[in-house]
């Protein structure tokens, strides 16, 4: 048993080395990103015609780093994550783009190789752990199944690993809990089990899609602290998809703001919150009630997100934008660099481009 626990936990020592590497890379300028998404576009066939849910999205995630992907409903944030693993349903079509992970373009990978990437190199957790767990099997047998799907481990050894996996996600009394059924666990415990399953094959990247949205706030704090700790220990990268700017401010290294299928701003987290460059980002921050700062009145964003089947010409935010001018209707703003590590898709950003900054993202590459 302790031997098996050792194998489960040599990930810990490897993880430490990986996170040192990750620190070097995220601190330094270049270094290959772990995940590199380029110009991804996804369309859905709907009764009202073809709708582009994701329309030219590009971002990269450094090793050991967390990217926060923020957007409201219909912004395309979940579609982006599902497209990365080609998990979209049949009404969806990937129109173009590349998704590079460790030297391979996932969008061109044969299905057999992609299966190893799913759950192996990239794992996912979702908002509702209940829907991902099978109610008729114990949590232990579900973790064992996940381990044996990707690694040649015997049943007994895998069972011992399952106990260690539950210990890793700080479930009390794991020897007993491994025999529990999902309905015997609270929402927070179920999400911990999902994390244990997701990490059982030591993925390089965890995609967490609204992982704490369904949880009570004290439980959310526990799960976020756990994810923070595990990410560090295992040296993995994370793509954190959320609508909650409070969560992003405290968990992400870099943030991408999505609006109507496009990334409108990308920035290191502190800079984004200190000086948002895109009017949409600025407006979102203004519209939030705060706990520790008294606001007499919230600055609301007028109107609603545009219908993806009837997008306005030019900038997609212009109907709701306080500083929109004629150019915004005529010309679609492209995502372009304005400072080191900062990109914005706006003709009139609040942060002025540095002199000599390239006009297009492609030129910066």
């Amino acid at each position: 048993m302790s031997g098996a626990a050792g194998t489960a936990f040599d990930a810990g020592t490897r993880g430490a080395a990986a996170s040192e590497r990750a620190d070097e890379r995220s601190a330094g300028a270049a270094g290959d990103p772990l995940l590199d998404v380029r110009d991804l576009a996804v369309a859905f066939e709907t009764p009202r015609g073809t709708v582009r849910a994701v329309d030219g999205v590009s971002f990269a995630i450094a090793r050991g780093a967390t990217l926060g992907l923020v957007g409201e409903s219909g912004s395309g944030k979940s579609v982006t994550s599902l497209a990365i693993l080609r998990l979209l349903d049949e009404s969806a079509r990937i129109l173009r783009g590349e998704v590079w992970l460790e030297g391979r373009n996932l969008l061109e990978l044969p299905e057999s190789e992609l299966r190893e990437v799913r759950g192996g190199r990239i794992a996912m957790i979702f908002q509702e752990p209940s829907t991902s767990l099978d109610p008729v099997f114990t949590v232990g047998s579900q973790i064992v199944e996940a381990i044996r799907l990707h690694r040649p481990v015997g049943r007994r050894a895998a069972w011992a690993e399952a106990v260690e996996a539950l210990r890793m996600v700080e479930i009390p009394d794991p020897e007993r809990r491994v025999r529990s059924y999902p309905h015997e666990l609270s929402g927070g415990m179920k999400q911990r089990v999902m994390i244990a399953i997701a990490l059982s094959c030591r993925p390089a990247l965890l995609i967490a899609d609204e992982p704490t949205t369904a949880l009570d706030v004290t439980i959310q704090a526990q799960v976020l602290a756990l994810l923070r700790d595990l990410k560090q220990r295992l040296g993995m990268s994370m793509m954190l998809i959320t609508h909650d700017l409070g969560v992003v401010a405290n968990e992400a290294d870099e943030v991408a703001i999505l609006y109507a299928g496009r990334i409108v701003e990308r920035a290191p987290v502190r800079e984004l919150f200190r000086a948002p460059a895109h009017p949409y980002t600025a407006a979102l921050l203004q519209s939030l009630p705060r706990l520790r700062e008294r606001r007499s009145r919230l600055v609301a964003i007028p109107g609603v997100v545009p219908d993806p089947a009837r997008l306005p010409s030019g900038c997609r935010f212009r109907d709701r934008c306080p500083i929109a001018r004629e150019r915004c209707a005529a010309e679609d703003p492209v995502l372009r660099p304005i400072a080191a590590d900062r990109l914005v898709a706006c003709h009139f950003p609040a942060v002025e481009p540095a002199p000599g900054a390239p006009a297009r993202l492609e030129d910066a590459r």
Partner: protein
């Protein structure tokens, strides 16, 4: 309006709404062969007041009883014990006809703007339904009233002819608010009214609720799990845990100087969207216990880092101290209590 400036409440005079020792338990399963029945104690011994023009925020996590409390105040649920007094009249004593008249003065807005509107009815009919039932207006007068209500919540009178599915989430919640306002209430229970809305739409509805309160002098019971939203709109805040109020104070006082360890854990758990990191702190471990079998003594003691021997056996009463700050805790009672 600023939530703080509207804190000017009548000094003397009676509160508009008063709950006295309200309790509600639900039977969950009858024992086989007449064995002991089990009960969920959703709300236990809650007393509070809401003044005209005031927002009392009620925060708590799942199972805290906050939504049940709102329904008890409106008498949408019958209390197991205790009573509700509205404008000096005890609801339990009122004959059916008077109760019906009183219902016009107290309304509710629900979280789900999708589920709470009848999809087959036009918006105009939804808003007018209460007006018809209570025979407040007919014909052109009724239509004019509906048009005024739609305008008041930021919709257009033309919207009366449309169906709920033609509206966005934020617009549907406006329809729900117009329906609640139709009978000219003085008291609204707002049960997670912005929780289903996107961030950019939340602020619109929060501002609307603040405007309506100022214009109409409404009293709100604002029930939410979202502390940021509650903190923004409330004059006073009550914190519930497992069916009981554990702390109640003026908004600024509660946020700046919380006493109860559960309140402190809740506040610490809220991540702030700011440039300076303020990560959520997991100040308490474990899950809330089941309301089927609440722990003896203080219900929070199994998760409380400060619990002492008596916390396990003796239930702390909610005792008010300086500035009306009430706390139910043996270890950190209110100042001056």
């Amino acid at each position: 309006m600023s939530a703080a400036t509207a804190a000017a409440r009548p000094l003397a005079g009676r509160p508009l709404v008063e709950a006295r020792g309200l309790s509600k338990r639900f039977p969950v399963r009858a024992g086989v062969f007449g064995g002991a029945r089990e009960f969920v104690h959703a709300v236990t011994d809650v007393s509070l007041t809401v003044d005209a023009g005031e927002t009392l925020g009620v925060v708590g996590e799942s199972g805290s009883g906050k939504s049940t409390l709102g329904r008890l105040l409106l008498r949408l649920l019958e209390p197991t014990a205790g009573e509700v007094v509205f404008d000096g009249r005890r609801l339990a004593d009122l004959p059916r006809r008077d109760l019906r008249r009183l219902r016009r003065e107290m309304q509710i807005v629900f979280q789900d703007p999708y589920g709470s509107l009848d999809a087959r009815m036009r918006v105009g009919a939804i808003v007018a339904e209460g007006i018809e039932i209570h025979r407040l207006a007919r014909g052109a007068e009724k239509r004019a009233l509906v048009a005024r209500l739609l305008e008041e919540v930021g919709l257009s009178p033309d919207h009366a002819r449309r169906y709920p599915h033609e509206f966005s989430g934020g617009q549907r919640q406006r329809v729900g608010i117009a329906r609640a306002l139709a009978l000219g209430p003085r008291f609204l229970v707002l049960d997670e009214p912005v929780s289903a809305l996107d961030v950019s739409i939340q602020a619109q509805v929060i501002n609307l609720l603040a405007d309506l309160q100022e214009r109409r002098g409404l009293a709100y019971l604002f029930v939410s799990h979202d502390l940021r939203v509650v903190a923004h709109l409330s004059h006073r805040i009550a914190v519930m845990y497992l069916g009981r109020i554990v702390e109640l104070a003026e908004r600024d006082r509660l946020l700046a100087a919380p006493r109860h360890p559960y309140t402190r854990a809740l506040l610490a758990a809220v991540p702030e969207p700011a440039a300076e990191p303020h990560p959520a702190v997991a100040a308490v471990a474990g899950d809330p216990p089941s309301p089927l079998a609440p722990p003896a003594g203080c219900a929070f003691h199994p998760r409380c880092p400060f619990a002492e021997a008596r916390c396990r056996t003796e239930r702390p009463e909610l005792v008010a101290g300086a500035g009306g700050h009430a706390v139910a805790c043996h270890v950190f009672p209110a100042d001056g209590a």
